[in-house]
């Protein structure tokens, strides 16, 4: 018994030692919107490259940019384009995130301006009548705090979540679509990918265009749609070979299914 134990122990030490010797670690930090996607991509990357460990930490786009700059992280994650004073970094787009305003299909209103949407969400307009619709109370559907969709929506319409007067708060996209589909007076916003899919398959919702641009996945991919943003990986001018390999992998077609599964849109190639 004793021998077996010591042999096992020796083997374990050997294996661990060799594993540590070969392990290369890749650290990604930044945007909590990109993180879940990066985590999934990282898992697949680990599978294909044994001995590599991908470590993903969140902390916001700004942290991602700072960490990439100082070298604390090999790669930063940012859910926005780089600013003009961040020219020392290079960004690599891995996906687009776009959200669309949805109404019930039977709602006669076909277009809303940014100002009108802001007025609806702050409770200044409470009936569809004043927007050219029927005499019906507006049900405002908002997202739960912390969701990236909420952040993008509030940022685009320059709203503070405290000003928003919601009637229903939802968690995921599906719940939002079902809520709007079941209430003719409802207005909500969800990921365009999901909404387009549901609309095609007969769910009674309608995606509204914005500023004359139709809310379609194609327009999000081409970055034409106003309510969309790029999801980027950022790094300094010369990332190390492993980081470079990861970035190319994250931009390749091999991860399109992961991107779609998170309701993002794979970027144009």
């Amino acid at each position: 018994m004793k021998y077996i134990h010591s042999i096992c122990f020796a083997l374990a030490v050997l294996m661990m030692g060799s594993a540590f010797a070969d392990t290369q670690k890749l650290v990604l930090t930044g945007s909590s919107t990109v993180a879940p996607l990066a985590l999934e991509i990282g898992k697949r990357f680990e599978q294909r490259n044994p001995g590599v460990r991908v470590d993903v930490q969140t902390g916001g786009s700004t942290r991602g940019v700072n960490d990439a700059r100082t070298g604390l992280a090999d790669i930063g994650m940012a859910s926005r384009a780089l600013k003009s004073d961040e020219g020392d970094l290079t960004s690599y787009r891995i996906a687009m995130d776009g959200i669309g305003i949805i109404l019930h299909r039977d709602n006669p209103v076909h277009e809303l301006s940014d100002g009108q949407i802001r007025a609806i969400y702050t409770g200044k307009i409470t009936n569809w009548k004043s927007l050219g619709g029927t005499d019906q109370k507006i049900t405002v559907v908002n997202k739960a705090a912390g969701r990236s969709t909420l952040e993008l929506f509030l940022h685009h319409f320059k709203l503070n979540n405290r000003e928003v007067r919601p009637h229903v708060i939802i968690g995921d996209n599906q719940q939002g679509i079902k809520t709007v589909a079941g209430n003719v007076g409802a207005i909500g916003y969800v990921s365009i990918g999901t909404a387009e899919y549901e609309q095609t398959y007969g769910t009674p919702i309608r995606l509204l265009g914005m500023n004359g641009v139709a809310a379609t996945v194609d327009n999000v991919r081409e970055a034409h749609f106003p309510l969309s943003r790029p999801l980027n990986l950022v790094s300094t001018g010369a990332p190390n070979p492993l980081a470079q390999q990861f970035i190319s992998f994250a931009q390749s077609q091999a991860v399109d299914d992961l991107v779609t599964a998170q309701y993002f849109v794979p970027s144009a190639r």
Binding site: T139, A145, I169, T179, G182
Partner: protein, 296 residues
């Protein structure tokens, strides 16, 4: 009673082994509960220690981004939804139990019980889907937006009805035949027997069932999350959108960090305290019942 005593003279090896296995499993369950409680306290410790628990009751509202964590509106919503559900489910459940125990034709009793068991076994997310696609639009056509305290009460009532009904039926079945026969011999009508003898004698059992059902209602998450609307506000009317504590945890936990996360754990702790209190009440109820029977 003799067979349940340890027969020390010929305690078989198998018995010793079984005693140890069952004993350690029982112990493990208790330890697990203790660990869950410890985890809740540890994870919520950050917020509890620095801001004090008072922060959960006197903040401006629930604004995790700016560090304001008022749990009161959600606590009221949770209690209102559970209590409302109980007010609907208790009479209905007791009545259905009375029917199947005293009035139903024999061939109906067993299918009825099976249906109740099936109802009890339906996953809550299915109730939620039904609520979201049928109940909410229905309530909404009457009083928009439909996602409201009332919808939550209806869904919860439907979910706890089988529990109430099955436990009530068990309690009614446990009423001693002697009491029922005695009442019948005194010439009481069936209505008189049910209202005057059976239900009073089964009261403790029915109440225990009601407490268990309330615990389920308090802890229910998915179905309520889908129909209640989830706006954090103290319910002023049945048609207000409300958020219950469990839904709050489910909605925000995936994205919560730091103090926000700790506050969610604290709301879990609060829920657990309420449920523990109810469990204690249920235990007391039962103990009282047993004492009562012993004296009788």
């Amino acid at each position: 009673m003799i067979w349940s005593r340890h027969n020390t003279s010929s305690l078989a090896r198998a018995d010793t082994a079984l005693t140890r296995v069952t004993g350690s499993i029982a112990l493990a369950v208790a330890v697990l509960l203790g660990l869950v409680l410890m985890l809740l306290i540890k994870e919520s410790g950050a917020v509890l220690a620095e801001g004090g628990w008072i922060r959960f009751f006197n903040s401006d509202g629930w604004y995790p981004q700016s560090g304001e964590y008022n749990l009161l509106p959600m606590l009221w919503a949770t209690l209102a939804a559970s209590l409302g559900a109980l007010l609907i489910a208790l009479p209905l459940g007791v009545m259905s139990a009375v029917f199947s125990r005293f009035y139903a034709p024999v061939w109906m009793v067993s299918p009825l019980r099976r249906i109740m068991m099936l109802l009890a076994g339906i996953p809550s997310v299915v109730y939620g889907l039904w609520g979201l696609t049928v109940l909410v639009p229905l309530v909404g056509s009457w009083m928009p937006p439909g996602s409201s305290l009332l919808s939550a009460i209806f869904i919860l009532a439907l979910m706890i009805l089988p529990t109430v009904s099955l436990t009530s039926e068990a309690a009614l079945t446990a009423v001693s035949p002697a009491s029922l026969q005695g009442a019948a011999a005194l010439g009481l009508s069936r209505k008189g027997i049910v209202l005057g003898v059976a239900i009073p004698e089964a009261r403790a059992g029915i109440m225990t069932g009601a407490l268990l059902a309330t615990m389920r209602a308090l802890g229910e998450t998915m179905a309520v999350l889908m129909v209640a609307g989830n706006v954090v506000q103290t319910p002023g009317s049945l048609f207000d959108s409300v958020r219950v504590l469990t839904a709050n945890i489910a909605l925000e936990m995936p994205y919560a960090t730091g103090d926000h996360r700790a506050a969610l754990f604290a709301s879990g702790l609060l829920l657990m305290m309420i449920v523990t209190l109810l469990a204690w009440l249920a235990g007391r109820q039962q103990a009282g019942d047993e004492r009562g029977h012993a004296h009788a």
